[in-house]
């Protein structure tokens, strides 16, 4: 029993420090929203450019030159970060969703090895933390 409650209290303490408050019992902790605009960083003749990803879908050639289809939502099914270009409630707070979004970007970037055009995935995020507007840019380079 002591182990049980000891571990649980450790979890509560951990939840205070981690962005998504996992194990912290922080219910209804914010009234924040976010809008994710997904972009691809691609190589151009002049260097690099950011290309918007409409509805999470894009096409890019593989090594053989054949066009392949990619879709953000094929890998990202979590409700908070799968929705693009639409303002959504930030469950467990804005930090939680940005933390998850960065992990999602890293995950997708590491799962598109055949995409020869994309150098990185970039998310421009419009935020509304308890009514205060802001913005943040997250980026994940292909490994």
């Amino acid at each position: 029993m002591l182990t049980f409650f000891g571990l649980e209290l450790w979890g509560v303490a951990y939840g205070q420090r981690t962005p998504d408050h996992a194990f912290g019992f922080q219910m209804f902790n914010e009234s924040s929203r976010l809008t994710i605009h997904l972009k691809r960083e691609v190589k151009t003749k002049r260097g690099k450019a950011l290309v918007p990803v409409d509805n999470g879908r894009w096409q890019a050639p593989d090594e053989s030159g054949a066009q392949r289809q990619y879709r953000w939502q094929d890998r990202v099914t979590d409700v908070g970060v799968r929705t693009l270009d639409v303002s959504v409630h930030a469950a467990y707070g804005l930090d939680a969703q940005l933390f998850r979004l960065q992990a999602a970007l890293d995950d997708v970037a590491s799962h598109i090895p055949d995409d020869t055009r994309t150098l990185a995935l970039v998310a421009d995020v419009e935020t509304l933390r308890n009514g205060v507007a802001g913005s943040v840019r997250l980026r994940a380079a292909k490994p």
């Binding site: 649980e8 408050h21 912290g24 922080q26 890998r75 099914t77 009514g131």
Partner: protein
């Protein structure tokens, strides 16, 4: 001081909790299976494990885990090797959370912890059981309120009303749509949001502590009941409200049938109420009696031996029957200045 460790009381409360958490955990297991079918198995898509990636089960192993979890709940429900069965079911559920923190939700975690904790207590026993076991389940309930309220208290945005102001703002179109325009300035007022925030924090703190004292327990239970009913209606947070209300069972007096209710069954109405009353008595609070000679429709004798008729009798019934419990405080306020003994 540690005398309570040896105290033994009725095990009925623990048995009820075993049944409640087995059912709720079974429903959660179904939900997790539904997610795999309708969305995806989390291991096949983007997920965030807290354990090493190699420990995340394959889809088929995950199905096996869910199957065992459901089986464990079933066995616990029917009291067949209930404690190990519920322990395995809760442990598998907790392991699932560790495999993907995206699946972490406070309500699921609380349900799994409560089920785990109940499995560690003699929840399969008939007769008497150590009272500390029930107290631990109660402590788990309080801990959630305490963590939640302190988190809000130390958050300047929450304390100051900024969080609730936005939430209330979301409700304005709904009230406007239903012609309740008078509420718009109230819901849009920072002062009201600030006051509501302080009231919400105070309520959660009261729930965390008030459940432990005899004088405040009934009021805390009523507040919690209404609080969770409100959450269920306004936010519908999966099984959270049901989990916490099932957790409240840890705070009921364990002794059974210390009160009596007697119905006048000379009329069809009395017969129906008598039958209905037996069904409502989930917590086995009453000795159920019938009479054809008593004057009032219902007579309730409380623990102290005082008899109540009329509205006070209904108040006593509401206090003891979970489905009628929301009526307890209104009836208590209504009967505050009325005589407690029946005229009959």
């Amino acid at each position: 001081m540690l005398g309570f460790l040896g105290e033994e009381r009725e095990a009925y409360v623990l048995n009820l909790q075993r049944i409640a958490f087995a059912v709720l955990l079974f429903l959660l297991t179904l939900k997790m299976g539904q997610l795999v079918v309708q969305v995806a198995y989390f291991g096949d898509v983007f997920h965030m494990p807290l354990v090493p990636e190699s420990w995340v089960p394959s889809r088929s192993v995950y199905w096996l885990m869910l199957g065992l979890q459901a089986l464990g709940c079933g066995l616990a429900l029917f009291n067949v090797r209930a404690r190990p069965a519920l322990l395995v079911a809760a442990s598998l559920g907790l392991y699932g959370v560790l495999c993907n923190r995206l699946e972490y939700h406070n309500n699921r975690y609380e349900l799994l912890l409560l089920a785990f904790l109940v499995a560690l207590t003699p929840c399969d026993r008939q007769g008497k059981a150590p009272w500390w076991a029930v107290r631990l389940v109660g402590a788990q309930v309080s801990l959630v309120y305490l963590a939640s309220s302190l988190g809000k208290l130390f958050d300047a945005d929450w304390r100051g009303g900024a969080v609730l102001l936005r939430r209330f703002g979301n409700g304005i179109p709904f009230f406007d749509h239903h012609g309740l325009h008078a509420l718009t300035p109230i819901l849009g007022s920072p002062t009201f949001a600030h006051a509501a925030s302080l009231a919400a924090i105070a309520s959660e703190l009261f729930l965390a502590l008030g459940l432990w004292f005899g004088r405040t327990r009934a009021l805390a239970l009523w507040l919690g009941f209404m609080f969770h009913a409100g959450i269920e209606i306004a936010a519908h947070v999966e099984l959270f409200s049901y989990t916490m209300i099932a957790g409240y069972i840890a705070f009921v007096t364990p002794e059974l049938r210390e009160r009596a209710v007697s119905w006048n069954i000379a009329t069809l109405r009395g017969q129906r109420w008598a039958a209905f009353c037996r069904r409502l008595d989930l917590l086995a609070r009453f000795q159920h009696q019938t009479s054809t000679t008593q004057q009032p429709l219902v007579l309730v004798t409380d623990r102290s031996g005082t008899q109540h008729a009329g509205v006070p009798a209904w108040r006593e019934l509401a206090r003891a029957f979970p489905p009628l419990f929301p009526l307890w405080l209104p009836l208590t306020l209504f009967t505050l200045r009325r005589p407690r003994t029946p005229k009959a």
